[in-house]
Symmetry: C2
Subunit: 378 residues, 2 copies
C-alpha cells in the first residue's frame, strides 16, 4: 500500500476578489451550498430545478424552453454551443478581440467547422462594419460567434447590433456572455440571440463550476436537423434535455452537481430580488466610482470610455511598478485579489473586477487605498 | 423586461441517501464547501491543489503524475479518457454488462473509434475468458475498456485480471471506477491500469460534480503521440495539465470549481485518515449486515454472491410490491432514498447503496426496518 498522506483541513482566508473571476460570493450562496445533499431525481430537487430554470430565463431575459445550467464551467458552456450547433464543414464567422474569441475559433475547428476570423485589436470592441463586410463575402456562413464582454480586455461589444446582422444574413448567433450576464444590459429574446453561454462565477456571484446556457427555437431546430450525433456525449443537449425537460418523467443523464445548483438557485434568486436593471445600474455606479479613483492615481484604461465594461476594468501597469510584487502585496497584506493581464496584456495590464456581490463601495474604497499606498511606495 | 420570479431560498430536507449516488455527504465536506471562495490562481489554492493531487494518488494507489479531478461529473471523466486516448479508426474492445459499458461504446464511436463489444448479461461480471478470445480475434485492438463496479447492476468485475490481459495483448486499459473508488480494493499501479476515472459522489461521499482521473505513463505517451488535436477543448488533458502541473507557473485553462475542490480535498482527507483498507473493510462489513437483513425479508440479489459489490446492492422487487409507491413512501415517511432499477432492471430491481459515509450501521438498520414495515403492508 502507498502511504496515506496526512493533511489538515483546508482553511482559506476571506479574500476580497477583484480579479476577472471568481468574484466575491454572496454569503447566502455559500450557505445554500452547504445544505444537505439530496438525490438528483428527488421530487424536491426537481422542483428546485424548475425554479432554477425560470430564474435563468429571467437573468437571460428569454422564454427559451432550452435554458439550463451546464454541469461544468463556462468553457464547457462554450463547447456546448459549438458542438451541438456546428457540423463538420460548416462555416462560422468568429470575432476575435481577446482571448475568448480565439478560444471560440479553436472550438469551431475541433468540431470540424471552418472558422473565418474577424479581428479587432485587444481592448477594442468587435466592429459591426467589419462583421457585415465579412458576412457579405461569405454568404455560405451559417453562424456568427462573438464575445459580448471580453474578460481578457474589459471591452464591451454591441451584441444587439451584431445579432441583428446575424439575423439579416441568415446566420445563427453564438454569444459568449460569461462576464456580461447580470453585469450589463443583455436581452436574449429582444436582441435575437440564438445560442448563449455564461458562467456562475462572474456577475452572478455564485461559486465557480456551472455554465448557464440558452438556445432559441432557431438554434434548437438546427440541433434537431443534425446529420450526425454530437461529438460529445456529456454535452449532447438532446440527451441533457431529457433530464432538464420538466415534462413528465425525468430520465437520468448524469448526476447533477446538486449542491452547486443549490448555490446557483440562491444567487439567481438574489439577482431576481434585486432586479436586473438595478444590478446593471449598480455595476455602472461602482465602476464610475472606481474609474474616478484610478484616474486620480494616474492609471490609464486599456479600453476607450464608451466600450468599457463596468465589471472588468483593465488599466495599464504604470512604469516603475513591479506587477508580480504589487499583486502579491495586495493579496498578502490587504487580502485583496486583483487580476493579472492575460495573453497580449500579460505583464502590461491589471484587471480589476467589480462583479455581482463584489460591486460594492467598500471594495472600491479598499482597492483605491491599496493601490494608492503601494504605487506610492514602488 | 420579463418579470422577476420571486422564490424563497431552497431548503432541502436531510435525507438518508441509500441509492446509487449521490451518497450521504460527510458533514465536514459540506462545511468545507461553504468556506470562502478564493481565486483559482491564489498561491494558497495552488497549495491545496497540490495536496489534493497527493490525496487522489493515494485513493487510486498510484504515483501517476497525471492524476487530477476533472471539473465535471463522472460521465465527463469517462469522456476525458476516451477523447484524449482514442483517435479515429482505432479499435477499442468494450465490455458491456450494464448501462455504463454501453455508454463507453457510445463514447468510442463519438470519437470516431471502432468499438468491438464483449457482452455479458446484466448482473454478471465481465468474463475474462470472453475478453481474451476477443483480444485474440482482434490483434489490432489498441484499448480494452470495462467497468470495474457496474452501478446499474451491482456487479464487480476482476479489474486485476482484465488489466493483465490488456497488458499481455498490448492494449491500453480504460477503467470505469465511478462506484468502486474508495469502496472496494483498487490498485492502479499494481494492477497496471492505464486510464481510470471515478466520481466524487459515490464512495468518496463528496458532493457530486467532480471526476477524479489518472493516466499511466503508457497512456500519457499515447496522448503525446496524437496526430490530431483532442476533439474537446474543455477536456484536452494537454491543456488542463498546464494548470494542474504544479511545476513553476500554472497557466489558466478554465476557472477551477474552487468550492467543490475544497469539498473533495476534505472527503479524500477523511478517507486517508480512515485508511483505504479500513474503508474497504467497512463497506464489506456493512454489506454483510444489510445482505443478512435483506435475505431475512425474502429479497433476492440480482448478482451472484462472489461478484456482489458491497456498496451497491441490487435486489429484485418482490411480487406484489408497488415499486414507485414504496420508494415514494420510504422517501416521504422515512426520509430514505433507495435507487430505482435502471435500463433492463427498471421496475424489476431496487439498488441499495452503502457508499462512503453512508456505509453505517444506523443506515442499514433504518433501511431494513423501513423495507420490513412497507413490504409487510403491501
Amino acid at each position: 500500500m502507498l502511504t496515506a498522506p496526512q493533511f489538515t483541513s483546508f482553511n482559506p482566508p476571506r479574500r476580497i476578489l477583484m480579479g476577472p473571476g471568481p468574484s466575491d460570493v454572496y454569503p447566502q450562496v455559500l450557505a445554500a451550498q452547504a445544505k444537505p445533499t439530496i438525490g438528483h431525481l428527488d421530487p424536491l430537487f426537481i422542483g428546485m430545478m424548475d425554479e432554477l430554470k425560470q430564474l435563468l430565463q429571467y437573468a437571460f431575459q428569454t422564454t427559451n424552453p432550452m435554458t439550463i445550467a451546464v454541469s461544468a464551467p463556462g468553457s464547457a458552456g462554450m463547447e456546448t454551443c459549438f458542438v451541438n450547433l456546428v457540423e463538420p464543414g460548416e462555416k462560422v464567422i468568429v470575432c476575435r478581440n481577446g482571448v475568448f474569441g480565439e478560444r471560440m475559433r479553436q472550438n469551431v475547428e475541433r468540431c470540424g467547422g471552418v472558422a473565418v476570423c474577424v479581428d479587432n485589436a485587444w481592448g477594442e470592441p468587435v466592429s459591426p462594419e467589419q462583421v457585415e463586410d465579412t458576412l457579405k463575402q461569405h454568404p455560405d456562413a451559417r453562424f456568427l460567434a462573438f464575445v459580448h464582454a471580453e474578460t481578457s480586455t474589459g471591452a464591451l461589444s454591441d451584441a444587439k447590433a451584431l445579432c441583428a446582422l446575424a439575423t439579416q444574413y441568415d446566420c445563427i448567433s453564438i454569444v459568449d456572455a460569461v462576464t456580461s450576464l447580470g453585469g450589463v444590459e443583455l436581452r436574449v429574446d429582444e436582441w435575437g440571440i440564438d445560442a448563449i453561454y455564461s458562467g456562475s462565477q462572474k456577475c452572478l456571484s455564485c461559486v465557480p463550476g456551472l455554465s448557464p446556457v440558452s438556445f432559441s427555437e432557431k438554434a434548437v431546430a438546427k440541433i434537431q436537423q443534425r446529420k450526425r450525433p454530437v461529438q460529445s456525449w456529456f454535452l449532447d443537449q438532446s440527451l441533457v434535455m431529457a433530464y432538464w425537460s420538466g415534462q413528465g418523467k425525468r430520465s437520468y443523464h448524469h448526476t447533477a452537481p446538486v449542491n452547486s445548483l443549490y448555490a446557483l438557485h440562491e444567487a439567481l434568486r438574489l439577482l431576481a430580488t434585486e432586479g436586473l436593471e438595478h444590478a446593471w445600474q449598480r455595476h455602472r455606479a461602482m465602476h464610475q466610482l472606481l474609474a474616478k479613483g484610478l484616474t486620480s492615481l494616474g492609471l490609464e484604461f486599456v479600453v476607450a470610455e464608451p466600450y468599457r465594461l463596468p465589471q472588468l476594468n483593465s488599466v495599464y501597469i504604470p512604469a516603475g511598478a513591479d506587477d508580480v510584487r504589487l499583486r502579491s502585496t495586495l493579496l498578502n497584506e490587504y487580502n485583496l485579489e486583483i487580476g493579472a493581464g492575460l495573453g497580449e496584456l500579460s505583464g502590461r495590464a491589471w484587471r480589476l473586477g467589480l462583479m455581482g456581490y463584489g460591486a460594492r463601495r467598500e471594495n472600491v474604497a479598499l482597492c483605491i487605498q491599496a493601490l494608492s499606498e503601494q504605487l506610492a511606495s514602488s
